[in-house]
């Protein structure tokens, strides 16, 4: 279904191999297991890490064979379609590249191998000085302590370390803080999506001795944070598109089989038109998301930042639209726990607020219009 301009030659092979791995490691039964209380991220995450899939994106020149952002975003359609239990976009597109880029090689390797889990407190997009600006969830006070707060932190209660963008004067630095450090309070949220549990993290006067700075805390890491945060958005968009495709695929199959009034319900225009609209929303999302990913690969400047935000809005809403059309078209079954559609809907509800709530993303677009 995807147009492949700008995708590297090895992409097809990569995708096929990821699909096979996920067929084996992340069947839908694992999603049921997660809701039944199996620990996450679980075996599927470990398998993905062991096979090297978390190290796809780098924040430096990985050479001509390194996957592009577009490659990673399209591969994320597979993890999105499987509701992989783990913070794939966060880890592969943001955390690991940021760790590697700042020389924290050992920790990056451990995260990539799946032996350490680091939860990222995501910076929030805003618009200022004529461009996209990311605001940090924490501040460094004059006495060197860290304070801040972040909601909706993916796997915050499961991670041993927190990756924290820190505002320091007018600069951005990046710190790594043990989740158990004094002054850190991590409160698990109610479980909405068991494959992607979230937490609220409060930092209150975390002492300098607890903080590991990635790079020089007095240097400005805004450019690296900007690159990685944009890449996170592109890959999260990929996960949303993959989930929306899967939901629509399931629904087309269902309405083609399910008969009422002596005919398949998919032959009724009322059903067709709603699914046609869902398809349209997905393809519009895909076109813009791919365009944004390509522009990140081409190193285009701020000119495309509004498109990045618009893509986030469209992808987040397309998967909601697809889920809602699917639930309606499945009738009573769509409303049933066993039908599994709500797993995708729950993921969509959680992810639409990443890296910032929809209204904040829209506010940034609004300020960027003129």
């Amino acid at each position: 279904m995807s147009g492949l301009a700008g995708v590297s030659e090895q992409h097809r092979l990569l995708r096929q191999s990821l699909r096979e791995l996920l067929d084996d490691a992340s069947p839908i039964t694992r999603v049921h297991d997660a809701y039944a209380g199996s620990p996450v991220p679980g075996e599927a995450w470990d398998a993905l890490a062991r096979a090297g899939w978390l190290s796809l994106a780098t924040d430096d020149d990985g050479g001509p064979d390194a996957p592009t952002t577009l490659d990673v975003a399209i591969l994320a359609e597979e993890t999105g379609a499987r509701l992989l239990a783990g913070p794939f976009a966060h880890t592969a597109a943001f955390t690991i590249p940021l760790l590697r880029g700042s020389g924290a090689t050992a920790l990056a390797d451990a995260v990539a191998a799946g032996t350490e889990l680091v939860a990222a407190l995501m910076p929030a997009p805003g618009w200022g000085d004529g461009g996209l600006r990311w605001s940090a969830p924490a501040l460094r006070r004059p006495d060197g302590t860290l304070s801040g707060r972040a909601a909706g932190v993916a796997f915050g209660a499961q991670a041993a370390h927190l990756l924290v963008p820190v505002g320091s004067g007018d600069r951005l630095a990046v710190a790594c803080v043990p989740a158990g450090a004094a002054g850190v309070t991590v409160t698990a949220d109610a479980v909405l999506d068991a494959t992607r549990p979230t937490a609220t993290v409060v930092l209150e006067g975390v002492a300098p001795g607890e903080v590991r700075w990635l790079g020089d805390p007095d240097a400005d890491a805004a450019a690296a944070v900007d690159r990685c945060a944009r890449r996170f958005v592109a890959v999260l968009d990929g996960e949303a598109i993959g989930a929306a495709d899967e939901v629509l695929r399931r629904t087309v199959a269902y309405v083609s089989e399910r008969r009422q009034f002596g005919v398949p319900i998919g032959s009724f225009q009322a059903v067709k038109h709603r699914l046609a609209d869902a398809f349209g929303a997905i393809e519009l999302a895909r076109s813009l998301a791919y365009r944004v990913a390509r522009s990140l690969d081409d190193g285009d400047g701020d000119g495309d930042a509004r498109d990045l935000l618009a893509s986030r809005v469209q992808c987040a809403s397309a998967v909601m639209t697809a889920c809602e059309a699917a639930i309606q078209a499945h009738g009573g079954y769509g409303f049933a726990w066993e039908q599994e559609l709500h797993f995708f809907y729950r993921r969509a509800i959680v992810d639409r607020a990443q890296p910032a709530p929809p209204d904040d993303v829209r506010a940034a677009i609004r300020r960027g219009l003129r």
């Binding site: 699914l275 349209g280 393809e283 999302a285 813009l288 509004r306 677009i365 219009l369």
Partner: protein, 386 residues
């Protein structure tokens, strides 16, 4: 020219447009009064031709430039950027031209294509009939053999620019006993003859660009059948597919420019009434922006895939649907921005463009038909009675 670097080609065309396109022809909309719009569209078509920029995708043998898709896109984007009007003969050049190039005889191509491109002969499309709209294959206009040609009897409707066209590419039924789709042929009709009468229809915006065409033993010569007898449906399907090509892209990309005009309008009116500025309409402006950017991305994706020869599936229908509905929304937002100033003479082109836009979800395949096409592409079962 076809070997020229696209960026250099683009720069050269941009410079030419800057000198060739008068200010008064820029940013005309479908709401611009006809007495201004039509002459500007015709003159722009003539000027593009005289400047050597017309027929970008046509083979050089028929006056075209034989350019790559990338070059063609550059021409479209630069015209949109400059706010240039759509050439008056675009229905001929962009839709029937490719049909003739693919299916016409050599004599037909040499006779009809060069004057079409030069805007010396204007064309209209004779497809819809009073009883055959979305169900086009139900058309009833008959062509009856007469000597070595045909006599045509019937009626066409919604025929844009029939009142100023020299020729019409016409769908007619040549075999009433054949299955519906197999009995249709495409023919070239000369408009200036006793058997053809044209009655203007006034549209919702008050202008009369489309017409009823009554055919009462209108004469068609042997050399005016396009393709084979009974091949008309295939030709019509091809015409509709190219209608979704670059000329559609031009319309779609124009929406981005209209969005900028909307922002100008908001700022302009806010200077008189600060309470009615961008903040008041913020949510809908963001919606309009997202729609505009997704439309742009999809249209570029479609052009790109066509250039690489990849299948498009139902994406053209998604684009038509999204363009027409987004355009209506954008113009509607402009009405809300105008508020009680909706009668302001200065803004009547916007209001008329809004009224005209109601047709955009109807012509070229209604939104309902487009959704059916998309559903078919998804593999959903047919609901039509056998």
């Amino acid at each position: 020219m076809a070997n020229e670097d696209v960026a250099a080609f683009r720069a050269r065309f941009r410079e030419w447009v800057a000198g060739a396109l008068p200010e008064t022809w820029r940013d005309l909309t479908r709401g611009t009064p006809e007495e201004v719009l039509l002459p500007a569209r015709r003159a722009w078509g003539e000027r593009l031709h005289a400047g050597g920029w017309a027929g970008a995708g046509w083979p050089p043998a028929y006056g075209g430039l034989g350019l790559t898709v990338e070059h063609q896109v550059a021409l479209v984007e630069e015209q949109v950027r400059a706010g240039a009007p759509e050439p008056l003969n675009s229905n001929g050049v962009e839709i029937f031209g490719p049909v003739l190039i693919r299916y016409g005889s050599e004599a037909q191509k040499l006779r009809y294509l060069p004057p079409m491109l030069a805007h010396r002969e204007l064309w209209c499309q004779g497809f819809s009939e009073p009883q055959a709209g979305s169900d086009l294959a139900g058309l009833r206009t008959r062509a009856i053999p007469d000597g070595d040609g045909w006599l045509v009897r019937g009626q066409k409707v919604w025929t844009t620019y029939a009142h100023c066209a020299d020729h019409c590419y016409l769908l007619v039924r040549t075999d009433p006993d054949a299955p519906r789709h197999a009995g249709i042929s495409m023919m070239i009709l000369d408009m200036d003859q006793p058997g053809v009468s044209v009655r203007p229809l006034r549209n919702i915006a008050g202008s009369s660009e489309f017409n009823e065409v009554f055919l009462d033993d209108a004469r068609i010569e042997a050399g005016q059948l396009v393709g084979d007898l009974g091949q008309g449906w295939e030709l019509a399907a091809y015409a509709l597919s190219v209608e979704r090509g670059l000329s559609f892209a031009e319309r779609a990309l124009k929406v981005a420019r209209e969005f900028e005009r909307l922002l100008d309008m908001v700022d302009g009116l806010a200077s008189e009434d600060p309470g009615r500025g961008a903040e008041r309409f913020a949510e809908r402006l963001v919606d309009a922006f997202v729609r505009t950017r997704t439309l742009h991305a999809l249209v570029v994706e479609i052009i790109d895939r066509s250039a690489r020869g990849e299948p498009l599936g139902s994406l053209p229908s998604v684009a038509k649907l999204h363009w027409s509905e987004s355009h209506q929304e954008l113009l509607r937002l402009g009405l809300d921005v105008l508020g009680q100033r909706v009668g302001d003479p200065e803004h009547q082109d916007w209001v008329r463009a809004f009224l005209f836009s109601r047709g955009e979800t109807i012509y070229g395949g209604t939104s309902e038909i487009q959704r059916n096409v998309i559903a078919k592409g998804l593999g959903l079962p047919s609901g039509r009675a056998a």
